[in-house]
């Protein structure tokens, strides 16, 4: 009897919740964007209601980028995906066949409404004197970075280190492999997502340096206090372009294409770009970028396309089973 009442109560409550909203969208995203999309969603819902009188509520799901892509392929009903790198959305297109292969051409700037880069987060006063990538391979320095197999951020970290090695030791792949191999020998824990690594470094106090998304590093400093952590910008890093896309099969089945499309286009508006910059992502709108110029450290940024020949190639060379990462990370 008690249980029957509970079921009835639970069902009643669920239905009332569902009746309140007219449209729901699901945004499946990667780890560090939680706070960003909380702000964006609220602003977009307001904007959309003013334009169309429709109430839209956007649900969020976060995790390692690769893991999230896997969930969408397995049937997580994402109206839009906003992942850490193009390759993960490519996987949804090729393995899941949920969107066309040419998805990246559909929105400006390769479908990346914001960019970011990879920086270091160290403990206050920088006790190990970490200034650049070269300091990460020194003996006795514990480096925290997530697992490139499951985390998008981790793949950016890895490629940034590789690019630094190529530039420093000449275009010699063997030397780069040795450098990155030594770097990963200094990694005591591989978490599955960027946020997990941040908590490992910040909360559990493990490691001397965290290789992190710039926005994640800023957020950690903001949340936990500049008296505990500081950001170090290396001499060279990588331009990360986290892309977004509508998932065609899902929006067509659910009849949400119009609003999902509008949601992604909204990310390119000056209003959203401002929210983006306030959440420490680099805006692509030049005017907004100018306004927040002082916020971001200036560093030399290379792209995946120019150094690695695109994500498909980088993934194949470095991250698939048995590729370079597996060769250097064997213990």
């Amino acid at each position: 009897m008690k249980h029957r009442l509970l079921i009835a109560a639970a069902l009643a409550l669920t239905t009332t919740v569902a009746a309140g909203a007219d449209i729901t969208l699901l945004n499946v995203s990667y780890d560090p964007t939680r706070e960003l999309y909380q702000d964006i969603n609220a602003a977009f819902a307001k904007d959309w209601e003013a334009k169309t009188k429709d109430k839209v509520s956007i649900k969020q799901s976060h995790g390692g980028s690769g893991k999230q892509a896997r969930s969408v392929i397995d049937g997580l009903d994402a109206d839009v995906v906003t992942l850490a790198l193009a390759y993960d959305i490519d996987e949804i297109a090729s393995r899941g066949r949920l969107l066309p292969q040419a998805w990246q051409k559909r929105l400006p700037n390769n479908s990346a409404p914001y960019t970011s880069t990879i920086v270091f987060l160290v403990r206050k006063g920088n006790p190990k004197g970490i200034r650049d990538w070269g300091d990460l391979v020194k003996p006795g320095v514990a480096v925290i970075t997530p697992n490139p197999k499951t985390s998008g951020g981790a793949r950016w970290n890895y490629l940034a280190a590789w690019a630094y090695a190529l530039k420093t030791f000449g275009p010699d792949e063997a030397k780069a492999k040795d450098f990155v191999g030594r770097l990963y020998k200094n990694v005591p824990v591989l978490d599955s997502g960027a946020r997990g690594s941040t908590t490992t470094f910040v909360e559990r106090g493990i490691g001397d340096v965290l290789i992190a998304w710039e926005n994640e590093a800023f957020l950690a400093v903001k949340e936990l206090g500049p008296d505990k952590l500081e950001i170090v910008a290396p001499s060279l890093s990588i331009l990360a372009e986290p892309p977004v896309s509508v998932v065609d099969k899902v929006v067509d089945r659910r009849g949400t294409r119009k609003v999902a499309q509008a949601y992604l286009e909204y990310l390119y508006t000056p209003e959203a770009q401002d929210i983006i910059a306030r959440n420490y992502y680099r805006p692509i709108d030049l005017k907004v970028a100018g306004k927040y110029e002082k916020q971001f450290p200036k560093l030399q940024l290379i792209t995946v396309d120019e150094v690695f020949g695109g994500w498909q190639k980088a993934q194949k060379t470095h991250f698939v089973d048995g590729a370079v990462f597996d060769q250097i990370f064997t213990r």
């Binding site: 639970a10 649900k59 049937g75």
Partner: protein, 287 residues
């Protein structure tokens, strides 16, 4: 008048109280101290820490964390999953234990092994099984998608995973008990003309009621606390497919430590409520 009648009963000869143990006091103190220290370190301190951390930023923050829509949705989902899985497992557990303990049949050992299966496989594997079967790329994925049915990354998947991991508790609790009691009482009942149904309700179940209650409590605790299997099939959609344990993880990852512990304390409170209910039932129906 009544007092006069009671008088002789109180006038029993008084015997000196005998000590239960002959060990010297320091041995007893040491053993009691060890037991208490163990309880304190492994049970009391963590429980106290949860409530301390939860209330550290004040009652306002605590209240806000547990009444926030996503937290309430997580509470509802957790209760729903438990409310479906526990009765199902109760019925199945009693039926299976009855069959196994009171009857001989072919495939009995196979049935026992199958009941134990959820104990022996990792919860993560349990979750993946459902992804492989009901996922879009799985066996029934295409068909489910065509008929617009959602199993995984939705409430049914969470309920399924919960049923799977709580499957053995009731049956495992009852089987040894029923086997130890044998079949004599049931045989007597049948000889005296009871139907099978009457035998079950009047003889078998009353004999195992405490074991049954304990099985239900365990099953319920696991249903509400399960993380691994549910995490795999959940999809982590806030306000829709997050159970309480998953919500705790999300909050912790968002640097909302007070809120994370507040939600954790809610989970602990649910467990305490279950225990109080159990104590009440025990007292109410004690022989």
């Amino acid at each position: 008048m009544t007092t006069a009648v009671l008088q002789p009963a109180l006038a029993l000869p008084v015997r000196p109280v005998e000590k239960a143990t002959a060990e010297p006091p320091w041995v007893r103190l040491l053993l009691i101290g060890l037991a208490l220290a163990f309880l304190g370190i492994f049970l009391f301190v963590p429980l106290a820490a949860v409530f301390y951390e939860a209330l550290r930023k004040g009652v306002g923050v605590y209240w806000q964390a547990v009444t926030e829509p996503d937290a309430l949705a997580a509470v509802r989902l957790t209760l729903l999953a438990a409310a479906i899985s526990v009765p199902l497992n109760l019925v199945f557990g009693v039926a299976a234990a009855w069959a196994i303990a009171k009857f001989e049949f072919r495939g009995k050992n196979l049935l026992i092994t199958l009941i134990d299966l959820p104990f022996s496989v990792s919860p993560v594997i349990a979750g993946l099984i459902f992804v492989l079967v009901f996922g879009l790329q799985g066996w029934f994925g295409e068909w489910l998608s065509e008929h617009d049915l959602k199993i995984i990354f939705a409430v049914p998947g969470i309920v399924l995973a919960t049923i799977f991991v709580t499957f053995p508790f009731v049956a495992r609790e009852l089987i040894p008990l029923m086997q130890a009691q044998g079949t004599e009482e049931e045989e007597a009942a049948v000889v005296l003309g009871a139907s099978g149904w009457q035998t079950l309700w009047r003889v078998t179940l009353p004999n195992v009621k405490w074991g049954l209650l304990y099985g239900v409590i365990l099953s319920n605790a696991r249903a509400m606390g399960e993380f691994g299997a549910v995490s795999v099939v959940s999809g982590h959609i806030r306000g829709l497919t997050n159970t309480l344990p998953l919500h705790v993880e999300i909050l912790y990852n968002e640097y909302q430590f007070a809120a994370a512990f507040a939600t954790a304390s809610l989970l602990a409170l649910l467990a305490l409520v279950t225990l109080v209910l159990k104590a009440w039932v025990e007292r109410r129906f004690a022989d």
